[in-house]
Every structure is written in C-alpha cells, then in structure tokens.
C-alpha cells in the first residue's frame, strides 16, 4: 500500500510541476490574445488594458499561477478567449474523444502485438520471424503523417470509409444501430493509423521480452517436463515476461498520445489535437494550458495504472 501511495503522491507532484512549467512558458512568451487587439484602431487601449486586467493577464507569474491553481482545483480551468466560454466544457468532450480513439488504438495494437511477438519469439530465426522483423522495421520508418494521409487517400479512392470527422452529417436522423455503425466506420481509420504507429515498438518489445524468458533455465526445465508448446508459451512464458511489458504500457501511452494529436488533425477527429492547434494559432492561452495539462494527466495516469498493474503482478514489489 505504501508503494502505491508513494507512486500516487509522486504523480501528483509531477503534475504540479508540469502545470508550473506550462505557466512559466505562458508568462515568458511575448504577446497574448489581446496583443492583436492593440493593432485594431476600433478598440481603445483602455479597453485592452481593462480586458487584460479582467482576465488576470497583467499580474505576475506566481499570482496568476496560484489563482489559476485555486480555481482549477474547483474544476474551473479558466476562460477561452476565442470561444468565449469556460475552458472545461469545451475540453471535456474533446478529451473524451481523444481517449476513445487512443484506448481503442491501444487495445488494437496490443491485441495484434502479443500474438505476433510471441509467435516471432517462438519461431526465432525462421522466415516468419524475419518477415515480422522486416515488417516492424519498415513500419517504424513510416512517419505517422504518412500513414494517416495514406489511409485517408485510400478512403477517398475507395469510398469505403468516411474521410474524417466523427459522424456523418446525416447521423442525427439515423436510427441507433445505423448511428453506431456510422461511428465505428469513422473510428476505424484514425484508430488504425494510430495503432500502426505503436505496433512495431510493441511487437519488438514483446518478442525480446519473450526471448529473455524462453532462454531462462526454468523454462527449459518446463519444456523438459513435456508441457505442450502453446501452454508453455502463453501460460508459463508470457506471464513471466509481463513485467517489462507492463512498464512498456506506460511508455507506449506517451507515443500514442503524441501520435493522436497529429492524426486527429489530419483526419479531423474532434479530439484534443485540433483544439490545441486552434488554440495555439488563436493564442488562446488557457485552452493551451488546459489541453497540455490534460495530456500530462492522461500520461501520468497511464503510468500510475502501469504501476498498479506491476504491483498486482509482481510479488517482489509487494514485498518491498
């Protein structure tokens, strides 16, 4: 328990650190949303000053930060200048869309990676293994942008998939079954593009973790006892190889979130990515801060989940 409590405390401290970092960046930067207004002859300088005052942009960094932190803890993440609404409702739907996409891609990638990696490790050096390794090498060299654009071009050419967004224009008029089908169709390509980005990393790690275990003396002994091959691989070797893979789960989440930003923009998936991009272009400071922080929350939470899983899976950590 004290292990998990320590990890949780650590996670919270890291998030506080991230929020201070983003705020420092915000304050160090030249220009803000209202800087553009100054150039507009129809808005008087007094109005701009008043607005800056109202949004708390004229105060020093620690004061702004503490005020923001206090309200953030109450669930108020500030105000979007560009959308003219509070940040949190704006962010909430976008964040859940990003989560849906990322989690689905994550699940898909792991579901492919585990059998493929185990298979490649079990047939080490065979043509299967070499083909997998060549495939992962190639996939690793394909940039996310290219995969996403390629899939989009594919959708355009074949017409089998929608070319972006989360729902068809006509979705409102559809029945529930048709609507679900429509949503799934929209989801497939972005999720595939995202999964393709992390897949090679996962396959490689599963393979090497399995190889380590397969070479260990106790597994050779188990093999000597005549345990069937499939049972040996999935019941004995895979659980033993779990530790590095659980840690990988946390790491791959970061790659996934990074990848999703770009893919969401390319495939116009209404997630955090397009929102953040818009906010940057509009200098919508509090949206940027909140979106960046939220991504850190996802990553830190993912790592915490990995810690919990590790705690559950490894008696050595429990004993500590």
């Amino acid at each position: 328990m004290s292990y998990l409590a320590r990890r949780l405390g650590h996670a919270i401290l890291v998030l506080l650190g991230v929020s201070i970092l983003t705020f420092a960046l915000l304050k160090l930067a030249p220009g803000d949303y209202f800087a553009g207004m100054r150039l507009n002859p129809q808005i008087s300088p007094q109005t701009v000053t008043a607005l800056r005052h109202a949004y708390g942009l004229n105060r020093s960094l620690p004061v702004t930060y503490l005020r923001w932190l206090r309200s953030a803890l109450r669930g108020d993440l500030g105000y979007s200048f560009a959308y003219n609404t509070p940040v949190w409702p704006l962010l909430r739907s976008r964040a859940s869309n990003t989560l849906i996409l990322s989690l689905l891609a994550m699940a898909g990638a792991w579901l492919v990676a585990i059998p493929l990696g185990v298979w490649a490790a079990a047939h080490r050096g065979a043509s299967l293994d070499r083909a997998t390794s060549a495939g992962t090498t190639l996939l690793l060299a394909l940039p996310d942008v290219l995969i996403a654009l390629g899939l989009l071009a594919f959708a355009l050419r074949t017409g089998w998939f929608p070319t972006g967004g989360m729902a068809s224009v006509a979705a409102q008029a559809m029945g529930p079954a048709a609507r679900v089908r429509d949503f799934v169709l929209h989801l497939i390509l972005p999720a595939a593009a995202l999964a393709a980005g992390v897949l090679p990393i996962l396959v490689r790690h599963v393979r090497s973790a399995m190889l380590d275990v397969l070479d260990s003396p106790y597994l050779l002994a188990a093999r000597g006892h005549g345990i069937p091959r499939a049972r040996l691989l999935f019941r004995h070797a895979l659980p033993a190889a779990a530790n590095p893979l659980i840690s990988l789960f946390g790491v791959s989440l970061g790659t996934l979130l990074s990848g999703s930003l770009l893919i969401e923009v390319v495939m116009s998936w209404p997630g955090l990515g397009p929102l953040l991009l818009e906010a940057i272009l509009e200098r919508d400071a509090y949206v940027v801060v909140a979106a960046v922080l939220l991504s850190a929350v996802f990553l830190v939470a993912g790592n915490f989940v990995a810690d919990v899983l590790l705690y559950a899976a490894d008696p050595r950590i429990r004993a500590e």
Partner: protein
C-alpha cells in the same frame, strides 16, 4: 555489422550532400513558378522513342495541356517533341515571382546545374505542385530545412543532456535532485504536446530563417530529459569504477576524471541516442511545418510540402505530392540501421 553501419552511414552522407548541393542538383529554383504546369505529373525518362529508336541520351516528352476533364489528367505527353536531357547546364534563375514584379526588374543569376532540358521545355521528374513549382527541386531545398533542423536540434539536446546528465550523475546531491525532478516533469508530457506547449507561446509568423532556428531551439531544448537520464546512469556507474578512484588518489581533478575517464564511457549511449533522436527531430520539424507552426511558404520544407495534402482534392488526385513524406522513409531506415549497429557494437 560493421558493413551495415558503413552502408547506412554512406547512404546518410550521400543524402545530406545531395541536399546541401541543392543549388547544383536541383533543376530549378525552389520558388520558380510554371503557371502553365500546375500539378503536372512526374515525367518519365525515356530511352526508346515513338519510332522505336534507341537513344543513348535519355529524354522526356514535352508536356502539353490537354483538357481538364480527361481521365488521365489534364496533361499529356507530346510524342513529337522529345527533350533530351542536358548535363551541366548553365541556367538562369529568376528570383522570386516574376509576375509580381513589384520591385521592377526581377533579379537574375547564372549558375551551373547538374541537368536540365533545352528551353523552351521543362523537366519535372517528380511533378509539380499547384503553383507549377518543380517538386524535385523543392524536395532538395526542403531537405536543407528538415534534415538539418533535426540534426542541429539533436546536437543541442544531446549537448544539454550530456552536460546536465554528467553534472547530475557526478556531483549527486541537490543538483542531481533538481535536474532529475526537472527531467521527470519534461517526460510527464507526451512529447508532441510538450513541443506544442513550448511552441504555443512563441511568435507564430516569422521568416523562414528565424523559424528554422526557432524550431531547432524548441525541439532541441525540450529533448534533453531522456538523454540526460541515460548519461546520468552511465556516469553514476562509471564514477565508482576503481580506475576512477585510482586516478582520484593520484590527485586528479573532477574535470580530469570527467574528461578522461567518465565521459568516454558515455559515447556509446550518446551515439545511439543521436541515431534515434535525429530522425525523431526531423519528424518534429515536418510535423510543425505540416501544421503551419513551422517554416512557412514559399520557403520549402518537407513538412509544408506535405501540408498540400490536407486539401482533399490534392490528396485524391495528385499522388506525387506524397514525395515529401516518402523521402522520410529511407532517411529513417538508414538512421535506424545506424542506431541498431551502434547498439550492437556496445554489447
């Protein structure tokens, strides 16, 4: 293994040289527009002409505008006009857009190019974009931005990583605590979000050169955390080696120990990191410019060239616009080969 490393390094050197020598290798200036040839498809080099005669000097057919509605695209080859490839041609470059000659006479310069065709006639081996700019030339010039932004950024972040990592590992105590907590904060953000967070609050609309250095700075300064942690690990284990203790007992200064004994231990890790970080950082530049936060038109970068594909009609009809993304693949493959080879050499 050594062979693979040599092959990969040679390939990378050639690519970088080609990009650096863009003025010579590119048939056109990257900003030169051919308004009559918007989205012209790549031309094929021919050796055999329509009559079945073999030519020793390859040639291309001149392109003529046919009709917008034809199935094969608006252009077709003019089989009657073969344009033989000329090598080492003296070419005149018109700087800037000749149509918008606001400054009066456009500037012209002469210099040598590797190849071209006799005027009037054009050669677009990789096709053109919607302004009729030659893609091959833009790829070469764009590589100067994309490849070297990645390279410089990697140098910056590795330099910072080595500095902070060795201070952290060698001196321990509070500098170690401060640096490592900082690294944790930097690593708590998904990488692209971190880049965007830093980029977000910097000026958006800047010139091509400023934005190049801006991107190098942003990418380089945010990437220090992982290399510094790795370097710290190596330094920590190296500083307790007995030969370091022995040198200390002879009165060696900390600087001497770091320079002669400890930092050489980190070379392997640093080289591997370099081979992994450079392609990642090239991609970061491409991503920034793709999303309009990096180098902007008319200066070419692989990212802003790819950005054309965000228009659906371009994506649907003009497959050669993928070139700026496809060139990344061999570059990444070669860098990954280097990383593999260096990593294995250490074991």
């Amino acid at each position: 293994m050594q062979k693979k490393l040599k092959f990969a390094l040679l390939g990378l050197v050639l690519i970088h040289l080609a990009v650096l020598g863009a003025r010579f290798f590119a048939p056109y200036d990257p900003a030169e527009q051919h308004r009559d040839f918007a989205f012209a498809p790549p031309m094929l080099l021919h050796w055999v002409d329509a009559q079945g005669h073999l030519h020793l000097r390859p040639f291309v057919y001149a392109l003529v505008y046919h009709s917008e509605s034809s199935a094969a695209g608006p252009y077709e080859d003019d089989r009657s006009r073969a344009l033989p490839l000329r090598f080492f041609v003296e070419s005149t470059t018109t700087h800037g857009n000749s149509q918008s000659a606001a400054s009066g006479e456009p500037q012209r310069t002469n210099h040598l190019r590797l190849f071209g065709v006799d005027s009037p006639g054009e050669i677009f081996l990789f096709g053109t974009d919607d302004y009729g700019r030659d893609q091959l030339s833009r790829l070469l010039y764009g590589g100067q931005v994309s490849l070297f932004a990645g390279l410089f950024a990697a140098v910056l972040s590795l330099g910072l990583g080595i500095l902070l990592g060795s201070v952290s590992g060698f001196y321990g105590s509070w500098p170690d605590a401060v640096i490592m907590r900082g690294a944790e904060i930097f690593m708590a953000l998904p990488w692209i979000y971190l880049l965007f967070a830093v980029r977000a609050f910097l000026p958006l609309h800047v010139g091509a050169q400023e934005s190049f250095f801006l991107l190098v700075g942003v990418i380089g300064l945010t990437g220090w955390a992982r290399p510094s942690r790795l370097v710290r690990g190596v330094v920590l284990s190296a500083k307790h080696r007995e030969y370091v203790l022995a040198a200390r007992s002879f009165g060696a200064s900390n600087f001497y120990l770091l320079r002669r004994h400890i930092l050489p231990e980190t070379y392997g890790v640093v080289l591997t990191q370099a081979a992994l970080l450079i392609p990642q950082y090239v991609l970061a530049e491409v991503t920034f410019s793709f999303l309009g936060l990096g180098v902007s038109e008319p200066a070419p970068s692989w990212g802003n060239m790819l950005a054309e594909l965000q228009k659906l009609y371009v994506l649907e009809s003009y497959w050669w616009m993928f070139a700026a993304g496809l060139v990344l693949v061999p570059v990444f493959l070669l860098y990954h080969m280097v990383a593999d080879a260096v990593q294995q050499a250490q074991l």
